[in-house]
């Protein structure tokens, strides 16, 4: 348990600065000028690692990712306090497109495909910032290899593909950008089990082989903790717990609430009768 620190409000200071690709420092996010959603979140994402962000619905995972990729403005949200830096560049000063040029790309929650473009055109827009056509072509083939289903549907308009297919398009599109860091927002949502596994395999593969840094927001805690090296748990806009993935897996609370394993092993979904309070750490 030594790896885990239950957070208190003290601003945490770490001295692994040089290895951190992304540093989120105590940010506050407000939507619509009145709704305070993040209340001081700090994260460090190690270069070349997989870091995961866990937490229930409404914890603020998506918001955190959007504030990193600077997509908040388009939702009438803003970072009112704290700072985010990517390779010591202040993210706040950048356009989302400049961030993509720097190599940070986000896979948005809820797919967000370009409905009227075909599957292939969708994938190609992912390579918008790239110049080398040959490489793009190569990457396109690679994505089709990962998701053969997409190859079948390459000429359909994305708006008419199934939920899972759209999710594949969204992930494939991000891969096409040849990024240095991917912000993945619930990549496994709506995917069939073997595909979920495959997605995580792909993620860990590009992480290992190409050194792409991954920040992963996931509800599938089990999977996320298997592949990630470091994890943060968000609750209600605050980081309530952080630590190495391994130590998280062993934590009793995490086991019970995020992995669904209590002392007697996994309980059947049929047997939950009582309603339990969430937000235990608050």
């Amino acid at each position: 348990m030594d790896d885990i620190s239950i957070k208190n409000n003290k601003k945490h200071s770490k001295n692994k600065k040089n290895t951190d690709l992304l540093i989120v420092n105590n940010i506050e996010v407000v939507y619509n000028h009145v709704i305070l959603v993040l209340k001081g979140v700090s994260l460090n994402v190690r270069k070349g690692g997989i870091t995961t962000l866990l937490g229930g619905n409404g914890a603020g995972k998506t918001t955190t990712l959007k504030s990193i990729s600077n997509l908040l403005a388009s939702e009438r949200g803003e970072v009112t306090k704290g700072s985010i830096s990517f390779e010591n560049i202040d993210v706040h000063a950048l356009d989302p497109s400049q961030l993509v040029k720097l190599g940070v790309i986000q896979v948005m929650e809820g797919r967000h495909c370009f409905e009227h473009l075909t599957v292939e055109e969708n994938l190609l827009t992912g390579a918008y910032t790239r110049k080398n056509n040959k490489e793009v072509k190569y990457d396109l083939e690679r994505v089709y290899n990962y998701f053969p289903r997409l190859k079948d549907r390459r000429t359909s308009q994305a708006g008419y593909t199934s939920g899972g297919e759209q999710q594949m398009v969204a992930i494939g599109r991000a891969l096409m950008a040849n990024p240095r860091m991917i912000l993945l927002d619930e990549p496994s949502m709506g995917l069939a089990p073997q595909l979920v596994k495959q997605i995580f395999e792909i993620v860990s593969q590009i992480n290992k082989q190409e050194g792409v840094t991954i920040l992963l927001a996931e509800q599938n805690t089990n999977m996320a903790l298997q592949y990630a090296e470091y994890a943060y748990i968000l609750e209600n806009g605050r980081v309530v717990m952080e630590g190495s993935a391994k130590s998280m897996r062993d934590n009793e609370d995490v086991k019970e609430f995020y992995l669904g394993i209590s002392g007697k092993g996994r309980q059947s979904y049929r047997d939950f009768k009582q309603y339990r309070r969430r937000k235990r750490w608050l």
């Binding site: 939507y31 709704i35 866990l54 937490g55 229930g56 619905n57 409404g58 914890a59 998506t62 929650e109 809820g110 797919r111 289903r149 549907r153 359909s156 008419y160 593909t161 199934s162 939920g163 899972g164 297919e165 999710q167 594949m168 619930e186 949502m189 709506g190 995917l191 069939a192 089990p193 073997q194 595909l195 979920v196 596994k197 509800q219 599938n220 805690t221 089990n222 609430f257 995020y258 992995l259 669904g260 996994r266 059947s268 979904y269 049929r270 939950f272 009768k273 309603y275 339990r276 969430r278």
Partner: protein
């Protein structure tokens, strides 16, 4: 068709029978000759890989897609296709894979839309409001409040649903369907994007609706533990074709299903 006709079907008897349903869009065959039946009062799951045609199947059942061929027997009456409005009136409610809530309205109003079919006051009375219309509103409001209590939505009653987090939206959508007091509830991936704890909650809601309100449930879900745990029977689709059906245990050991969908293990 009146609701009472459906209510006359004994539990455990077929309420929907789908016979050789095929559906294609241009060149894409979403469903090919799929047949199965749903029994009244059961939890019935449809599983299969992405793009297998599961959502399309639900759309056929509630009339949003018209099958290219095949027949639907609903509560003893055979027809070529359903009409959405008819389906709603006959007690079929559903949730959607890509959340289809009314984004500009509050949670409460969203749930109240579930009661629309049951509200009878005419336009003039509504404009007048005081008197019968108000009484009716209050009556339905009480019903809806029960759903709100049940799903634990009190704190977001007045929040516009557009700004709710994904998981809560799913829950509100379930609430809207429940507010219709449906006979049959079609759920399209209700637990996508939830963590274990939230899935536990959702399962409990679904099961309670099934046990206590006796609602027939048709469920699409990719989380195998949930499906195996809570459903009574399962049908498996792959590339628009049915490749297996049966009780959860049978499915778990069905070779074709394992190859096409489950992979080697699923825990």
């Amino acid at each position: 068709m009146s609701l009472s006709k459906i209510k006359n079907i004994p539990y455990g008897k077929n309420i929907i029978e789908l016979k050789n349903i095929s559906l294609s869009f241009g060149g894409v065959k979403a469903l090919t000759e799929v047949s199965f039946e749903v029994k009244r009062g059961e939890v019935f799951a449809i599983i299969g890989p992405n793009g297998a045609g599961k959502s399309s199947m639900l759309n056929v059942i509630n009339g949003f897609y018209k099958p290219t061929s095949g027949k639907i027997n609903f509560a003893g009456q055979e027809r070529l296709q359903m009409e959405p409005e008819f389906a709603a009136k006959s007690g079929i409610a559903r949730t959607f894979q890509n959340i289809a809530l009314f984004k500009g309205m509050s949670t409460l109003d969203n749930l109240m839309t579930g009661r629309l079919l049951k509200q009878k006051q005419n336009l003039f009375m509504q404009a007048l409001y005081f008197g019968p219309a108000e009484k009716e509103e209050t009556f339905h409001r009480e019903k809806v409040e029960r759903v709100i209590d049940f799903l634990d939505l009190q704190s977001i009653r007045r929040t516009p649903v557009g700004s709710l987090p994904y998981g809560l939206q799913k829950r509100v959508e379930l609430g809207r369907a429940l507010a219709m007091e449906p006979e049959i509830l079609l759920l399209d991936e209700p637990m996508a994007g939830m963590n274990v704890e939230e899935k536990q909650d959702m399962s409990r809601f679904v099961l309670t609706a099934n046990h206590e309100l006796k609602t027939t449930i048709v469920l699409i879900e990719h989380d195998m533990s949930v499906v195996m745990d809570i459903s009574d029977r399962i049908v498996v689709l792959d590339y628009g074709k049915k490749i297996g059906s049966g009780k959860p245990e049978e499915i778990r050991s069905n070779k074709a299903v394992i190859d096409a969908y489950l992979g080697v293990s699923n825990d």
